[in-house]
Amino acid sequence: MTTYDIDSSNANAIEARDMSIYYGAFRAVNKVSLAIEKNKITAFIGPSGCGKSTVLRSFNRMNDLVPTARTEGEIVFRGKNLYAPDVDPVEVRRRIGMVFQKANPFPKSIYENIAYGPRINGWRGTKAEMDELVERSLRGAALWDDVKDKLQQSGLSLSGGQQQRLCIARALATQPEVILMDEPCSALDPISTLKIEELMFELRQRYTIIIVTHNMQQASRASDYTAFFLMNSERAGELVEYGTTEQIFHNPKDERTEQYISGRFG
């Protein structure tokens, strides 16, 4: 079993090299290469169907759950290819957490929602230590003050924005290094969205964040780097341009990027 104890001095948290992803015979993503910098927020933007979510999900091998999916190329995390034959996706997902488009708290109590991740990953400790871990995770997701008096209530009793922060807290509890967010605010109102964005800035100090978003404003105000994806003529997603958010939004090199950002298509 591979472990990731050797910390590379590399400033990149994770790096895709020539990633192609197939669903059956259909090539959904074509030769994507990009390096994600540590402790930064990287936004993936692009029109629907351009493969940005697929690329995101390949970073913690969630695509493996689709029976027909097949991956070519490498994703390097801590100096090791995540798709090497001796890597178990179960370990990858502990190190690289995920927050989904629709908040999906488990139908358990708020406390159990947080405790679930550590427990299934072989956590050992006392009840007091688990209490501490739950509190720290909820504080990390800026949810502690909202829920500290009702930890035994169902996670489903929270509002939409709170549920999404609960899912972030849940991901933090397994102490990941990278957090993948797949359109986490698409079902939230503007105030909840703002809260999540503020939270992302906080989290950036300790985690690397990759976020897929359809919201241009969100990408421009809440990310350090932006990657723009587009479908090619064979309907396969390709990385068109990747750079600092500043550069992509103000000085795009590719014509298609410029057209997309200025709202001329997509």
């Binding site: 759950l65 179960v90 995920m98 299934i120 169902s154 397994t174």
Partner: protein, 430 residues
């Protein structure tokens, strides 16, 4: 063709109602809705009426007046006192006085009269001396509404007969074993047999059914041809007539696996030293389990499929293995619905008759089942056997047995429903 030549703006797009037509249109749509509502309501009424008719019919037969007649007048032998008031010694005296030497010898051989208690002696006097006989029975409705006519008819035909109320469903009926005389027969063996077969069936079918459902939903790759065949077959098996399962059970469990199902392999001998064979509770339970497995599997699959995929993804995303996800997330969420399927399936097993006739349920048995290797009978078999008898009394105790069967079923279902509600409340949700 001509439409294409016209300017697109001028092509007809139909007409939506306007003005008074709106009101008319809405009234019509509401009326249709009302009519359908009535039809749906009628379906409920139909079901309720059918159920009520069944219950009334059964209850009607289970209670009512009976006419009994004794060969000897009770007052004559007791000197005008009630049998129940006599002491043990007096009762023994009456027996010694009224019975032939041969009968007395037989009774004393079973158990000396002096050692018997008063209740037993009263019973012996009733059967051996008074020879109380049931001469007529009347259903509840008739007993209530035409009491005078009944009395008149009875005194005319059986001058010495006594008319009394009888509830055929009573504690004695439930605790007495089978008898060839309807008046003395009970359903004790059948109730115990039903409980044994049902419990064993559930014990076999529930785990196998749930595990199979989990495999088919969570693990099996539906694109592979053999999984498709398995799925199709399970769906079809749910519709196979139960008698076919009886034939299967007879061939496999009773005949081929006889050493196991008779208990011989485990060194167990059938109760009462009877000949060993495979017609045991175990064979019946396996047959019933096969019968209800498809139903449990299919409803289990539905329940598992109804668990939102986002929950599975959330669990995998935290680093859970497939097994952890199924056990901690999917099953707790699906369990109440799985239980609903189990309740329906087990209820079916409780009432099933045909396969057990083939597997060899005894039609007449007086010893209690004492384990999986016992011979047995069950309530539906008992009911079926009694309805086949020519005497009217048997039809009446069949009705009484139906009441008992309904009560047993209600009891089992209530337990399962309570269990389901418990799991539902444990599953924290909004």
């Amino acid at each position: 063709m001509s439409a294409e030549s016209i300017n697109p703006e001028e092509r007809s797009v139909g007409v939506l109602p306007e003005g008074p037509a709106v009101k008319q249109n809405i009234a019509r749509r509401q009326l249709i809705g009302q009519i359908w509502r009535g039809i749906f309501f009628f379906a409920i009424v139909f079901g309720l009426v059918a159920l009520l008719t069944l219950i009334l019919d059964v209850v009607n037969d289970s209670f009512g007046l009976i006419a009994t007649q004794s060969e000897v007048d009770e007052q004559e032998i007791t000197g005008g006192r009630e049998l129940e008031d006599l002491s043990q010694a007096e009762l023994v005296a009456i027996l010694n006085e009224n019975l032939s030497r041969r009968v007395l010898t037989r009774l004393n051989r079973e158990q000396p009269l002096e050692e018997r208690d008063a209740a037993n002696l009263v019973e012996v006097i009733e059967t051996e001396v008074l020879k109380t006989e049931l001469v007529a029975v009347f259903p509840l409705w008739e007993s209530l509404t035409q009491r005078a006519a009944i009395e008149e008819r009875v005194t005319e035909r059986f001058p010495r007969a006594e008319l009394s109320w009888k509830a055929w469903v009573n504690w004695d009926f439930i605790t007495t074993p089978m008898s060839s005389v309807a008046f003395n027969a009970g359903v004790r063996t059948a109730i115990l047999g039903t409980l044994w077969v049902t419990m064993l069936t559930a014990l076999i079918a529930i785990p196998v059914g749930i595990f199979a459902a989990i495999y088919l939903e969570e693990y099996a790759d539906h694109r592979v041809w053999y999984n498709k065949i398995i799925q199709t077959n399970i769906n079809n098996l749910a519709g196979v007539p139960s008698i076919i399962y009886g034939m299967l059970g007879l061939a496999i469990f009773v005949r081929v696996l006889e050493p196991f199902t008779s208990g011989a392999f485990f060194g167990v001998s059938s109760g009462g030293g009877a000949t060993l064979n495979g017609r045991t509770i175990l064979s019946a339970a396996f047959t019933m389990a096969l019968l209800i497995l498809p139903v449990i599997i299919i409803t289990g699959q539905e329940a598992i499929r109804a668990v939102p995929n986002s929950l599975r993804q959330g669990s995998y995303g935290l680093g859970a293995t497939k097994w952890q996800t199924v056990w901690n997330i999917v099953l707790p969420q699906a369990f109440p619905s799985i239980l609903t399927g189990i309740i329906l399936a087990v209820s079916r097993a409780v009432g099933e008759t045909a396969p057990l006739i083939l597997v060899g349920a005894s039609t007449f048995i007086v010893t209690d089942p004492n384990g999986p290797f016992s011979k047995f009978t069950v309530l539906p078999i008992q009911i079926y056997t009694w309805t086949q008898q020519p005497e009217q009394e048997f039809k009446i105790i069949a009705a009484a047995a139906i009441v008992v069967l309904l009560i047993v079923m209600l009891f089992l279902n209530a337990t399962a429903v309570l269990l389901r509600n418990y799991f539902r409340s444990k599953r924290v949700s909004v």
